[in-house]
């Protein structure tokens, strides 16, 4: 049985109560809005990329504890990292959010490799691993991934600006 404590880890509640990197960035930062029409979660990502590095990130928006904590944790994890590293983190995080479905669908062999991969991801993700329990609550996965999808779009747009 999925336990509530798996979802609402103390670190998640902490980021929900005291979100990091709240605010806005003006140009030349890229601003992208993410919206979840089903539950009304909204996250606005402001990201500044300089010489291939995410030098600053700010967030506004509102929504449930999972969406807001996930965005706060994300901002702490990516600030100061290269765009390449950030994209790797996004990929690891999104894999973490899909492990559950893979476990349901795939054969045992594939499951092992997915789990091995996920273990590696968990180590790499550090604090973000606190969100791993979200996969046990499938309807909340989209809350956790909203900020990350929005960040991906913001990085794409900022790179379009450069090229």
């Amino acid at each position: 049985m999925a336990n509530l404590d798996d979802l609402y880890r103390e670190i998640i509640l902490d980021h929900y109560r005291s979100p990091r990197n709240r605010g806005e960035l003006g140009p030349p930062a890229t601003r992208v809005e993410g919206f979840n029409p089903l539950c009304g979660d909204e996250i606005v990502v402001h990201v500044l990329v300089e010489d291939g590095v995410v030098t600053d990130i700010k967030l506004t928006g509102h929504g449930c504890s999972i969406s807001q904590a996930s965005s706060s944790l994300m901002s702490s994890a990516v600030k100061g990292k290269s765009v390449e590293q950030v994209r790797g983190t996004i990929e690891s995080f999104k894999r973490l959010m899909t492990v559950h479905e893979s476990q349901l669908d795939d054969s045992a062999r594939e499951r092992e490799s997915v789990e091995a991969n996920a273990d590696g991801d968990l180590r790499r993700l550090g604090e973000l691993a606190a969100l791993a329990g979200v996969v046990k609550f499938p309807v909340r996965i989209k809350c956790a991934t909203l900020a990350w999808n929005t960040l991906t779009q913001a990085l794409d747009e900022s790179e379009d600006d450069v090229h």
Partner: protein, 411 residues
């Protein structure tokens, strides 16, 4: 005093035996869909086991029986609503939403033109807003809103002004968010005095109090079977016979025609004109059983009992949380039903509902398909608890226990 035993009603609901997260289910989402009594399930089962065939035109025994089931439900529904023109005023649809779409696309498209006004309210479900916006886009009508006051009730102080150019007033009998019960009889008088018609969204009202269409003197009524102990997939549009007979068909196909040739078609008369294709038949058997069940309890008894439950819940919610749990809706039971929307300070409705689920409590978080109303009160969402005739005061006990946990957890 209640003259039915809600504990026995609960015993009639198979789903009440479910255990959720090691706790007995506490179902507080009747506003979204009611739970189904055994007699309703058995009526549909009996239909498939003994009578199933396609309706109309068949000459063999079971086809006749299936037609009797289907047309019998029309009769039963008409009697339940005290429809002035009887069964020929009852159109079966997929749900209340489709009933509103039928109303807009058929009556609306034929009767309204650019500049005509449809007057809805700020507390409507999207089903009674979007079809009118679609008609605005296609026909240039205006959609106007009766505002909702800070007391969570329709603000009709400027109704005379609002009625200018109005051809249809379309309002809910009871808000699916606030629980507010609207003065339909009075609004019907205003509408008719201005030469307008009035449509009523009965989705939240028909299962919770008696509906007398003769006394209400309205022109259209829409509702769904699954919110009145019946099955999903079946709704009703009731329309006054003299209006229904002038409405053009909505969907075309089999069952709705009088004649078809290579040159064209002519539509059938009566409600079947709007029922193209094989309709939900087993579901009408379920609806008949649901109406029988509800009337067995007594609609006035249900209303009185749910008022008691609501009053008890409102009182305790006001006392127990030091203002941290706010009810978005009227604070007493006067002119309100058993739908209670909650705003918990510092806890998002999705998190409230998630914590409640751990206690086996089923409530609904979200905007409840009423985004204009949410915006009116500056909210993105609420967590909504709603009662049915099988609800007990002990359900409220569990709700409060779970809410207390949510408040502490996010403290």
């Amino acid at each position: 005093m209640t003259s039915f035993d809600p504990v026995r009603v609960r015993a009639d609901i198979p789903l009440m035996h479910r255990v959720i997260n090691d706790r007995p289910i506490t179902y507080l989402d009747s506003g979204a869909s009611s739970l189904t009594p055994r007699s309703v399930i058995e009526a549909m089962d009996r239909y498939y086991q003994h009578h199933h065939a396609n309706v109309h035109r068949g000459v063999y025994q079971t086809a006749n029986e299936a037609t009797s089931v289907y047309e019998g439900a029309r009769e039963r529904t008409a009697r339940f609503l005290n429809a002035p023109g009887g069964s020929q005023e009852i159109v079966f649809t997929k749900n209340a939403t489709e009933a509103f779409n039928l109303l807009a696309r058929s009556w609306g498209a034929a009767s309204l033109s650019a500049g005509d006004v449809v007057l809805v309210s700020e507390m409507e479900h999207h089903a009674n807003i979007v079809p009118w916006f679609q008609l605005r886009d296609s026909h240039g009508i205006e959609v106007r809103f009766i505002p909702v006051g800070d007391d969570f009730r329709l603000d009709v102080t400027r109704i005379e002004e609002l009625m200018r150019g109005v051809k249809l007033v379309s309002v809910t009998a009871m808000s699916n968010v606030l629980g507010t019960i609207n003065p339909i009889r009075e609004l019907a008088e205003v509408a008719h005095a201005h030469g307008a018609l009035i449509a009523v969204d009965g989705a939240q009202s028909v299962a919770h109090s008696s509906t007398d269409l003769v006394a209400l003197d309205v022109d259209f009524l829409a509702f769904s079977a699954h919110k009145m102990l019946g099955p999903t997939g079946l709704g009703v549009l009731w329309a006054r016979e003299d209006i229904l007979s002038t409405m053009p068909p909505f969907l075309g196909g089999g069952g709705m025609i009088k004649d078809v040739s290579v040159d064209g078609y002519s539509a059938a008369t009566g409600p079947s004109r709007f029922e193209a294709g094989t309709p939900p038949i087993a579901e009408t058997a379920g609806l008949t059983a649901a109406i029988t069940y509800l009337e067995g309890l007594g609609m006035d008894n249900i209303a009185a009992y749910e008022k008691e439950l609501t009053g008890d819940a409102l009182t305790r919610l006001a006392l127990e949380f030091n203002g941290r749990v706010r009810v978005i809706g009227p604070s007493d039971t006067q002119g309100r039903g058993g739908v209670i929307s909650l705003d918990v300070e510092g806890v998002h409705p999705h998190d409230v509902a998630q914590v409640l689920d751990q206690f086996g409590v089923c409530v609904r978080p979200g905007h409840h398909c009423a985004k204009p109303l949410m915006k009116r009160f500056g909210l993105a969402a609420t967590a909504r608890a709603s009662f049915g005739p099988y609800s007990l005061v002990s359900d409220t006990d569990v709700l409060l226990e779970a809410l207390a946990h949510a408040v502490t957890m996010f403290g």
